[in-house]
Amino acid sequence: MNDSRKIKLPPARYEYGGDEFVFVQLDEAMSLDVNFKAVSITQHLREKELPGIIDICHANASYMVRFNPDKLHPDNLIAELKKIEESLVDEAQIELRTQVIDIPVMYQDPWTHETLMRFRDRHPDPQSTDIEYVARVNGYRTTEDFIAAHCGSPYLVTMVAFTPGTSFCYQLVPPEERIEAPKYIRPRTDTPERALELGGSFSNIRPVRGAGGYQLIGMAPAPMFDPNQSLVDFQEFIAFLKPGDIFKYRRIDRDEFDRIRAEVEAGTFEYRKRDFTFHSDRSLEDPKAYNEEILGVLYGD
């Protein structure tokens, strides 16, 4: 492993979450490095199979463990976690046996446009549409250039939380290419189901309709959440994306949008997906080349 790619993060903060939880903040800022570290520590913790552990889940730059303190004292757990953290100082790359997925999206769709126009008074720039705004604040000359960047490189699901189907998706690009967007000044009271949204440095497709503060930039024809589990991708669980999943947004036009909608309605739609083993060190060393390889796996056959 190249020395310059060794993870340099501040010391982790270990905190009690009442008597049943320990919360560990690895860094205040989001980065691929810190997310990989959270994944790595939680993977190692799972392998230890400590008695008394109830939940292990990683977030973007932190993780949380729930346990039965009658079986595992929180201070003993923290001691174990520190040991794992120390053991990973020089070896923090992760290997994820995951899948790479094709997620069709229509940018600048009529439905999110209708929604965002109703809430201009809550937006940092009422004169622009959301996508014009995020293109400009990220230095893109045109919305077309922004769209090309947003769907050009694949994403990693760095966290799932809130409610089933909500994912935090972080693009596998070097820091200087990262797209970031402020949220609405005051949250909207409405967001359509399947809206493609962007807030902070995370993109997400909305599992269900509801309030929201992310910028609305498009619409997906296929769901992220299927409580009836009618589509084949939802047979095991009601939500689609899992932490560690890798996917690419693929820009589609209205005709293809309508075609996929009809397949979803008929219950025949299935996401294109291929098995893939992701190596974090390769992504951090040469993201462009590694992304080409990822897309080759997804679309090569």
Binding site: Y16, Y63, P164, G199
Partner: protein, 324 residues
Amino acid sequence: MAIRIVSPGLLTTVQDAGRPGKYDIVLPPSGAMDLFSYELGNYLVGNEPDAAGLEITYFGPRLQFTEDAIIALTGAEMPPRINGDEVATWEALQVRAGDVLSFDYLKAGARSYLAVAGGIDVPASFGSRSTYTYIGIGGYKGRALQEGDELHIGESRNGAGHVGTGVTPDQIPTFSDESELRVIIGLCSYLLTEESKEEFLGTEWTVTPDADRTGYRYRGGVLGFVEREQPSGAGSGPGNVVDINYPMGSIQVPGGEPIVLARDAITGGGFATIGTVITADLDRLAQTKTNDKTRFRSVTLDEALQARKQRRGQLEKIKSAFNG
């Protein structure tokens, strides 16, 4: 069929001991909000401690039994009647086919529990019968009970063994409209200003109408965060963090007002958390309601573990009295 819902009350759901171990697939712990009262109800009717019962919120339902059953009512003071006659709470009762159970107005607390020998028989969803209405899983069709619903009762383990036996008065929790919840300050509390830390613990907070199984929101002050340059990936406000997981019982302060997440907690998000209500006091939280007063008291981990042990000891003592 064994229980017909004549009228559902304000919010009556099937709950059991919860759905632990599912945070990573974005399912909260769920389960009865006041686990103490719920578990005690199960002892009274001779059930396993995690058999499913009904959680009755604020305003009671009207239920007709279509077969004989042994029941117990615990939790909030909401005087029950069978065929119009007042009956005892915290005690195992025999009901007969055709009997109608109804409730008077709530007098104290917020949530009552109906335990039935054999438990409410609904299919388990992700390892639990608890209703999580937000996404419609568990319980009866994933939702609160409605007029005309019909519930089945499971097979009872040990018949009428406990009918007529109850909990001694000193073992019955009392519910006041002024509560103190013990918290372990921490998580992201370093982001709060010093004055706000003091204000949080020094204020008598009022429960707002936003008080449900997901969380309780309070008013009575506005807490503030230290101004700083926001880290990459966090939201733009000083109370925003790069999205974290939220423990059950954790406290966040969006807009300056505290919210305590309850058993149907959302599992994570981008608001800074400042501490966690200890598990021994989640039963107490469940019995508070809109306009009640709440104070938060800071305790150490050792005190939290001691309180946990004491609560468990109390339950074991009551349980052994029934099995003895």
